[in-house]
């Protein structure tokens, strides 16, 4: 296996609405910035891969327009996944194993403001038996949170504490959407959106775009002083039907973390893609992340949640703390599907 590292990361600040921008205009600033940080241009990039979904803009082939945000001339080696940009990073990592190229550009964009996201996500459910029930993403997450309470694994106060800590962490993050000091007691006074979920236990819905440059071995060492090496990366899925899963656990995260090489050694920090507060508790338990691990120093998806980029941003936030020398070993995680069905985990390390 070749050594692959994250060498740069760029994101647009996550906000409620990024007005009047098409796909190319979302993609161009972040891809250019990520390449400029390491003094590369598109001509130096061996492979380009992106992640997005057609159901946000509500039109087929929306990623095609994003290619026009790149200098795709002469024609580039390029691919696209209908998943979060973190999975595009996975495809790029696989491509770099081939051995003929040494650099890759990964990007994703999510303009969540164009439609009612919780209702759109119902379209991920079984179209024959579940979609007609109108199981929006907040209601599905509420079933999972209630299962946590019923199993005695967490209380509403635990959810509130996760939310408060996440948004406090985000105070130092200029790209976060919701940040500040929030009172746990006041959160617990909020009305339910979908019991037991209150507004503060749910993520904001944000617009954003993000990009990452990957490089191999000595090429990475030449581009930056301290590359964030991907020591292991793996993803696993679970049964789709909610009734076939124990929603209070995440065996796919356990397996992916194990196969990514988490092992017995702890990590300094973990960036977990847990849009709902209770999901952080599930993921921490599934991956055995103790109190010594700094969870979501960026604020995580509870502070900024642009669909299709929130996962790639976890990778970028984890890597940037290694690139800067602030952390030695970090875990980056991305989830996909209803109630954490599908999970991707990577272990990042400095030299």
């Amino acid at each position: 296996m070749r050594d692959v590292a994250i060498v740069s990361f760029s994101q647009l600040p996550s906000v409620k609405v990024i007005d009047a921008t098409d796909e190319a205009e979302l993609v161009q600033p972040v891809t250019s910035d990520a390449m400029e940080q390491v003094d590369l241009t598109q001509d130096d990039i061996g492979f380009t891969c992106s992640g997005s979904t057609d159901y946000l803009p509500g039109r087929p082939f929306s990623f095609v327009a994003a290619v026009d945000g790149l200098k795709a001339w002469p024609p580039i080696r390029e691919s696209h996944v209908e998943m979060d940009g973190a999975f595009a990073l996975y495809e790029a990592w696989v491509r770099l194993m081939h051995g003929d190229i040494d650099t890759a550009l990964v990007f994703s964009f999510g303009k969540s403001s164009l439609g009612p996201v919780p209702d759109i996500l119902n379209l991920q459910n079984d179209p024959y038996y579940v979609q007609p029930l109108g199981l929006d993403s907040i209601s599905a997450a509420a079933l999972q949170a209630q299962a946590m309470i019923d199993a005695g694994k967490a209380s509403e106060r635990d959810f509130a504490e996760v939310a408060a800590r996440s948004r406090k962490n985000a105070i130092g993050n200029p790209n976060a959407h919701i940040k500040g000091e929030f009172s746990v007691d006041e959160m617990l006074e909020e009305p339910y959106i979908s019991s037991p979920l209150r507004k503060s236990f749910c993520p904001p819905v944000s617009d954003s775009a993000a990009a990452i440059v990957l490089a191999v071995g000595d090429r990475a060492r030449k581009l930056v002083k301290r590359p964030a090496w991907i020591r292991g990366i793996d993803h696993r899925t679970e049964a789709h039907a909610l009734g076939q899963r124990d929603l209070t656990t995440s065996p796919s995260s356990t397996l992916a973390a194990e196969r990514a090489g988490l092992g017995q050694r702890s990590v300094d920090l973990a960036e977990l893609h847990a849009p709902f507060a209770h999901q952080e508790i599930i993921l921490r338990e599934a991956m055995g992340l103790g109190d010594d691990v700094n969870i979501n120093p960026s604020g995580g998806a509870l502070a900024a949640n642009s669909l299709m980029t929130a996962g790639l941003i976890r990778f970028g936030e984890a890597a940037s703390r290694i690139l800067s020398g602030d952390a030695g070993r970090a875990l980056a995680h991305t989830s996909n599907g209803v109630c954490l069905q599908h999970n991707l985990v990577a272990i990042l390390e400095g030299e």
């Binding site: 296996m1 098409d22 380009t48 979904t53 057609d54 159901y55 509500g58 039109r59 087929p60 082939f61 990623f63 095609v64 327009a65 290619v67 026009d68 790149l70 795709a72 001339w73 002469p74 024609p75 580039i76 080696r77 390029e78 691919s79 696209h80 209908e82 998943m83 999975f87 996975y90 495809e91 696989v94 491509r95 194993m97 081939h98 051995g99 003929d100 759109i120 996500l121 379209l123 991920q124 459910n125 079984d126 179209p127 024959y128 793996d234 993803h235 696993r236 899925t237 679970e238 049964a239 789709h240 039907a241 065996p251 796919s252 397996l255 996909n336 599907g337 209803v338 069905q341 599908h342």
Partner: protein, 382 residues
């Protein structure tokens, strides 16, 4: 690369206008089980799954791989979803091959599907996009001007398109899985209604329901079958939509993608060193256009190969022995069907549409406005 990759199992559904007898999970499972049986494997043998389909709006399920995980026995495994427009079936197979060549996994199930009867693809392809003129024309309306441009440039014989349609439909009669089984004469094709000049009704592809699956394996496992198809070259190439320097009639991305796979496979002269090809031809005129784009003919000469019958089974360079996209078009699967049919040829399992002694074959897919390309070269020799 770290590992060699071989195709050791291939399965596909019977393609039809509407497979009302199968749900979407049933459709993908049918193809996957056939591929597993062909590879002498069970679900348990599979390390990883790579799935492709065209826009989710064709079926109305967002990221359907999440739902299809259950039908594909994916729990506990990685399942990965690729979407690169019409080339998706090809790009999906390329990602699967790279998982093996990169040493990440040893046995990968890759599949692609489309159930077009769930929606109307022509209109799903023509949405009203803010600040852009609405095409309201489907793919045919988009490609017709490119074909007219080709005819003018190459001074091509006007009957070329009809010749391709007749040939591909004759090939399709040899393929029991093909959607269209049409014993059409040249006069019938030429007499069919003109849709988008110069594209006649009988010069277009159908809308199909169907799925195709392949089992790819590393060298260690390739010995499970006696006739693996070795993957000798893979590439994906993309060019922009809006760029004044583009030549959509003879796209640079197609030429470059072909050069990538020929270089990797050590092919200098595709006409001499490749035995047959399955190429994405959704409208008949794309055969002569791609013959030139892929280097099988000099520029302006592709139509002559077609008119001389060189692309028939038994000809100098058989193209689309299975009947191709002209007979079967489950959009998201059409690219992988080309890749799989190329592999069948070099495995010697193409039955009635087998090219005698085929050893090296090209699989090709394209999508978008002739801007996304995916190709592979497969060989009976390691």
């Amino acid at each position: 690369m770290a590992e060699q990759c071989a195709v050791i199992g291939i399965g596909q559904t019977k393609h039809r206008e509407s497979r009302r007898d199968l749900s979407i999970p049933g459709l993908v499972r049918d193809a996957a089980i056939r591929a597993l049986q062909d590879a002498a494997m069970t679900w348990k043998d599979i390390d990883s799954i790579v799935i492709g389909t065209a826009p989710d709006m064709f079926e109305g399920v967002m990221m359907p791989e999440l739902w299809l995980s259950d039908a594909l026995g994916a729990a506990g495994k990685p399942i990965f979803r690729v979407h690169t427009a019409g080339s998706v079936g090809g790009s999906t197979a390329v990602v699967a091959a790279h998982l093996i060549q990169g040493g990440v996994h040893e046995k990968v199930l890759t599949l692609a599907f489309e159930k077009q009867s769930e929606a109307n693809a022509m209109w799903a392809l023509s949405p009203a996009i803010p600040f852009q003129p609405q095409l309201v024309a489907g793919a045919g309306g988009y490609f017709a001007p490119l074909i007219r441009s080709y005819i003018r440039r190459a001074d091509a014989h006007p009957d070329t398109g009809c010749m391709v349609a007749v040939k591909d439909r004759q090939h399709g009669l040899l393929n029991p899985n093909a959607h269209l089984h049409l014993d059409q004469t040249f006069e019938q094709v030429k007499g069919s209604p003109m849709l988008w000049d110069p594209i006649r009704y009988s010069e277009t592809c159908p809308s199909s329901d169907g799925a195709v699956a392949m089992v790819l394996a590393s060298e260690k496992h390739a010995g499970r079958v006696k006739n693996p198809a070795w993957v000798k070259g893979t590439s994906v190439r993309t060019e922009r939509t809006f760029f004044a320097g583009r030549d959509q009639v003879n796209p640079a991305a197609g030429k470059l993608c072909a050069k990538d796979v020929y270089d990797e496979a050590g092919i200098r002269n595709p006409l001499k060193e490749i035995d047959c090809a399955e190429v994405y031809v959704p409208f008949s005129w794309f055969e002569p256009m791609w013959l030139e784009n892929l280097g099988f003919a000099e520029q302006g000469e592709g139509w002559k190969m077609t008119m001389e019958g060189k692309t028939k089974i038994g000809g100098e360079m058989p193209w689309n022995m299975s009947g191709g996209v002209m007979c079967t078009n489950p959009i998201g699967a059409s690219g992988m069907l080309r890749f799989a049919e190329a592999a069948r040829q070099v495995r010697g399992t193409a039955q009635q549409h087998q090219v005698d002694g085929a050893k090296v074959a090209l699989g090709h897919a394209y999508g978008g406005g002739s801007q996304f390309f995916a190709m592979w070269i497969v060989s009976s020799e390691r």
